[in-house]
């Protein structure tokens, strides 16, 4: 992890401690730091603005209501936060069970996703580039499996079905892709 990341991570942890004490301003600060990233991933998964907003809202409020569930020994605040957003977004689209509606909604892309300038902290932009670069360095089959599982919110069994590959193969691609991605991110300093 780079020095900048460590410093930013430290800031996040201080925010989480304040949130645990019921400090609403800290929640606002955490939101301001990561709203665009959180809404970005939620929008990509949900496809509709309404579902994405709901997912981000639920994620932040779940952190507010159960701050004790964040364990700093286990990982970074960002992975906790983005994990919560991802989970809520996946939950939302699985609940909707509306692929067709989702596809229709994709034509009605969330405003702001059409190349609009997003103001984001420099360190986060750097990290973003590192993650995308690492992803590009995976084999295509691993990348496809990971992206399908993560961004389309489907189970590995559905990945297998959609790609027309055996269940075990889908599982292996996801596993190997995750392990490889982790190694690449460690090498680029995104993770310790």
């Amino acid at each position: 992890m780079t020095r900048t990341d460590t410093r930013e991570e430290q800031r996040d942890r201080v925010l989480m401690e304040r949130i645990a004490r019921g400090d609403k301003e800290a929640l606002a600060s955490l939101y301001d730091r990561y709203a665009a990233a959180a809404f970005g991933v939620a929008s990509k998964i949900c496809g509709t603005r309404t579902l994405a907003e709901d997912a981000v809202q639920e994620a932040f409020l779940s952190i507010w209501r159960r701050p004790g569930s964040y364990n700093p020994q286990r990982g970074s605040v960002t992975s906790y936060l983005f994990g919560a957003v991802h989970n809520k977004a996946v939950d939302a689209i699985r609940h909707e069970q509306s692929l067709r509606r989702r596809e229709q909604a994709m034509t009605d892309r969330p405003e702001g996703s059409g190349g609009e300038e997003v103001v984001e902290a420099a360190w986060l932009s750097v990290r973003r580039v590192q993650v995308r670069t690492a992803l590009q360095r995976l084999s295509k089959v691993q990348r496809d499996a990971l992206q399908m599982a993560y961004f389309e919110g489907v189970t590995y069994a559905e990945v297998a079905e959609r790609l027309g590959i055996p269940l075990g193969t889908a599982k292996t691609r996801i596993r190997d892709g995750m392990i490889q991605l982790r190694a690449l991110l460690s090498a680029s300093g995104v993770e310790e």
Partner: protein, 238 residues
């Protein structure tokens, strides 16, 4: 599943890419397996980093307002226009009387954020203990007529100090919450409120003296922690 089979599911678990059954099994396993927990932690971090592969999108200002206004000391639940027919006396009549002092601990949802999972892993561990020590004949819960799909089972631990209530077929409560009740001398005592997961399943862990438990019931309520049931009955012990 064998240990190796469960371990192979961890990467997909980190991506929220398991089916409900596998996720439940793995979570129960994680509660008691340090090796698997150690494998999960870095993969959860990797999954978190994947979020940055999506282009950032500036959310509308109203989202910030919604979140901050929702961040009150007490959880805010939207009141729902639920029917207020007086169903409880009918339910209570079916339930046997029991003397139990009860404390609800937690609801366990099948699908949750990774760190929330950690908290739940502890609960899951307790659930496993309950299930492992439970009577071979769990007490069934049957559906009230309005939700024929719903069913449940109560696993009481051998020492009768805790129980796991496993429910399936619960419709989503988009406005309101499910409330678990225990009846004592014909009067209901609120236990935990909960929401089922996307598949309609929920597991509630109850810690209490259940030695003389007569029965439990589930109702759909506008908000949690009401002193007495107001909403319609969903499940009750047979």
């Amino acid at each position: 599943m064998t240990h190796q089979e469960l371990q192979d599911l961890i990467p997909a678990y980190a991506l929220d890419a398991l089916g409900p059954q596998e996720e439940m099994e793995l979570r129960a396993h994680l509660a008691s397996c340090d090796d698997c927990q150690a494998l999960l932690a870095p993969l959860a971090e990797t999954a978190g980093a994947l979020a940055l592969a999506a282009p950032p999108v500036t959310p509308p200002p109203r989202l910030r307002e919604r979140i901050l206004s929702g961040a009150e000391p007490e959880p805010q639940l939207t009141p729902a226009p639920l029917p207020r027919r007086p169903v409880w006396p009918r339910v209570a009549g079916v339930l046997a009387a029991a003397a139990v002092v009860l404390m609800a601990v937690a609801n366990v949802l099948l699908i949750n954020s990774l760190n929330e999972r950690e908290r739940q892993l502890e609960e899951q561990g307790r659930l496993v203990d309950v299930l492992a020590s439970g009577s071979p004949n769990p007490r069934p819960m049957v559906a009230a007529e309005r939700n024929p799909e719903a069913s449940g089972q109560i696993f009481v631990a051998k020492d009768a100090q805790s129980a796991a209530v496993v429910m399936t077929g619960l419709p989503q409560a988009s406005q309101g919450v499910y409330q678990l009740w225990l009846v004592r001398d014909g009067r209901p005592t609120p236990l935990d409120s909960f929401q089922p997961d996307a598949s309609g399943a929920a597991v509630v862990y109850v810690q209490a003296n259940l030695a003389a438990m007569g029965g439990m019931a589930v109702t759909l309520e506008e908000r949690p922690a009401l002193p007495a049931p107001r909403g319609p009955a969903v499940l009750r012990t047979a």
